[in-house]
Subunit: 461 residues, 2 copies
């Protein structure tokens, strides 16, 4: 069965990791990608987009043995550096445990590493500039076209795996099969985002603390920044399209953009001399969640963003896709490389966790832009960090459950984490957590009520 | 402004009622429909599909002054007639108030009535067999083709309203506009449905009680029947596609169909001599919910199923669409016939209620097939009927809120009704409703806890 020919549509992060793992198993793999080879395209012309890389992503990377090489691309971020309107900063650690942190990593650097590794395998064919036009799901074949030369090629495979992202062409082909009763949703936020930058200083070093993810939470909107290896930061503005004093629809000239940044992000503005150019050169992108089911039909499967695109607020998009590959790989081994069974089981068993992280990422949209700056939230985080520090094995915050505990599924992390958050906030509000209690007593109270909350969905009687 | 030309795409129930109301206001209306004129097509060849018509639908019908004529098409149904496996029946009334009942009505009869009324207006052009191919939302125009003659026609209007159902072509055109960030979902149930029939007896009269909606609840699956004016019943089987002993995927020959009906729907089976033919002649249809937002862009609007298709378990699909027309008409008057403002306000203000009834219809899927037969549910319904009978102004069950209280929006009905249901079931389970209490005391307890439940989403501390 390992002589099957598998067509992987899309050589982004998910498709590349998957193709590499399949190649390691000995399958014949065709990896087709719409864009140019990002290793050859003029990198300086594109923007270096970075991502948060954490334990679930690492689980996928370990599967292909690249953890050492990936580590070289990582910049550890130990917490959120909160910037208030005056420019005062405060670090809010991600965990009370020393070894729990996330990493800033370059998307193109990571993708390039995977592509180089894939090329070491003779059983993989990589084809760039091959835009998927049509997938024939009945016959496991797909038609690609080179947008420049207009050359067309049809690939006949035994299996087709669509890792072609949020706008997946493979998914669109599945949606057209009436008998499949394909459930699908795309939901956009009221906010969009725009990438900007803070360049290195004259010595080529970072102009802000590089060991943190910087956030300027402003209630409805926010700015964030992640460090790059070259000393720069990639800055992202998350802003509503309409409403409020400033929004994407009314930031129409350099003077207003300047006014907004001076008013709301003063300290960042001081480090962004190119702001006014970048703001109008760089696109405004939308923020959407895509869910669908089933992910498989006949010999075709969707994976990664093609199956479950999420908003970026938990830093889990790429991590979830890499975990997809690990989950797929586990099932493949369990099923002794029976791909038919693996496709079906993956589609069924992974769905709940994909929905879980989609929900969590939406939760965090509100948490990051507003709650991170609120007293009650800060009080809760302070207590959680103390609990994690003193009872490292007994207390796991929602953030830790999601980010650092890859053996717990996203769904379980969501259910437990949401309950715990709700209970702690309620206990504070009702004055049931007091200074007289020891830390251990507080932990017991939180555990007790979280358990009660999870047992019943209401407890009013 | 009343000289605007409005193109209504789709002459089903919603489009026909809307076109009639717009014509009454004096607008120039083009009403285009893909199918043949249902008044001329061979009705006996098609199936007579009936619907539940209730107060919200009546609100729309009153708007155009047709309530008397519609009443002639109605067969009142005062409750659910529950059939157990032995064929024993029990009536579960819809309300403890005498004047609250729903009606069985023929879809084609009602649609024909609306079309005849529309034709009395010179300012309306109706065109059948005109299938919408493309909508140009920037220019308020649409291209139609006659599937037989292949003749093409382009209509240029001032406004386009898509009432073209769950598979709306107008909605698909909106979905393609990237800048609109059109949120959309289609979700299918695990169950499908098939229409069957019980014919009149030799005297042309109904073979079962005609004043009720008949239900054979069987846990995962169910059969229902609604009376027709000609003495027949339209029977609908709601059945899972897979799983359980019998499902749509394994009912593949007459013998198994017979076995299933004999086993689960014995008394109905005795009245269905044509079952085995009908089962294989009639299609199996899927059950889906469609939600989207926004419903408007430029001068185009979606309405009815095109904007919010729901599952049929609350009998509210057509009622919701007719209520759309009434809500639209209210806003139109308030805005003094400014269509630009009306489109925007309707899209914004009606959405929450459309989501409300979509959720309620899904709730009722579970209630009808399973809960209606359970003791706790029957105990709850018994208490609710007593409360409605003795305190007609003070107690409204969820069913009454949704079905008979058109002045309360679906969303409000959902929130209040769900809370009340949850509270009553909990009170029974915890033994807080006892035989020693007077009915008035029971009402007070229910009101108190429903209020508490609505005030906070948890009350555990």
């Amino acid at each position: 069965m390992k002589d099957s020919h598998i067509l992987v549509v899309g050589a982004g992060l998910c498709g590349s990791l998957l193709a590499l793992r399949l190649a390691q198993h000995g399958y014949q793999v065709s990896l087709f990608e719409k864009r140019k080879d990002l290793r050859k395209a003029d990198i300086s012309a594109g923007r270096s987009i970075n991502l948060a890389f954490s334990d679930r992503g690492l689980k996928g990377i370990k599967r292909v043995g690249l953890e050492k090489k990936v580590e070289e691309l990582c910049i550890p971020m130990h917490g959120r550096m909160l910037h208030d309107k005056k420019g005062t900063t405060k670090l809010s650690p991600y965990s009370g445990r020393q070894n729990e942190y996330i990493n800033s990593i370059s998307r193109s650097g990571l993708n390039a590493l995977l592509l180089y590794e894939i090329e070491k395998h003779e059983n993989v064919r990589i084809q760039f500039e091959a835009s998927c036009q049509h997938v024939d799901i009945e016959n496991n074949s797909a038609v690609f076209v080179n947008d420049t030369t207009k050359e067309q090629i049809t690939i006949n495979a035994d299996y087709v795996i669509g890792t072609d992202g949020a706008g997946s062409v493979v998914r669109q082909a599945m949606m057209k099969i009436r008998a499949l009763r394909f459930s699908f949703s795309q939901n956009f936020l009221t906010h969009g985002y725009k990438e900007l930058s803070i360049l290195p200083d004259e010595n080529g070093t970072h102009q802000m603390e590089k060991g943190a993810l910087h956030i300027w939470p402003r209630g409805e909107n926010m700015l964030i920044a992640l460090p790059n290896l070259d000393g720069s930061f990639t800055v992202t503005l998350f802003l509503a399209y309409e409403g409020g004093t400033y929004n994407f629809n009314n930031l129409t000239n350099p003077a207003i953009v300047e006014e907004y940044f001076k008013s709301d992000y003063k300290d960042a503005y001081a480090l962004m001399p190119h702001l006014k150019d970048e703001f109008f050169e760089n696109p405004t992108a939308s923020l959407g969640t895509i869910r669908c089911t089933p992910w498989t039909h006949k010999n075709t499967l969707l994976m990664g963003d093609a199956a479950h695109a999420i908003v970026p607020f938990y830093g889990q998009g790429m991590n979830a896709s890499f975990e997809d590959v690990a989950v797929f790989d586990d099932i493949l081994s369990e099923e002794e490389f029976d791909l038919d069974k693996t496709l079906k089981r993956f589609s069924k068993e992974r769905k709940l966790d994909a929905d879980g992280i989609a929900d969590l990422a939406l939760d965090n949209f509100h948490e990051m832009k507003a709650h991170t700056a609120q007293d009650l939230f800060l009080k809760k985080r302070k207590l959680e960090l103390e609990l994690e520090e003193h009872f490292p094995k007994d207390y796991l915050s929602k953030y830790s459950l999601v980010t650092f505990n890859e053996d717990i599924g996203y769904h379980e992390a969501k259910v437990k984490g949401r309950a715990q958050d709700k209970v702690i906030l309620n206990l504070f509000q009702e004055g049931k957590l007091t200074d007289e209690q020891t830390l251990e007593e507080k932990l017991q109270i939180i555990d007790k009520y979280t358990g009660l909350y999870l047992d019943k969905d209401i407890l009013i009687l």
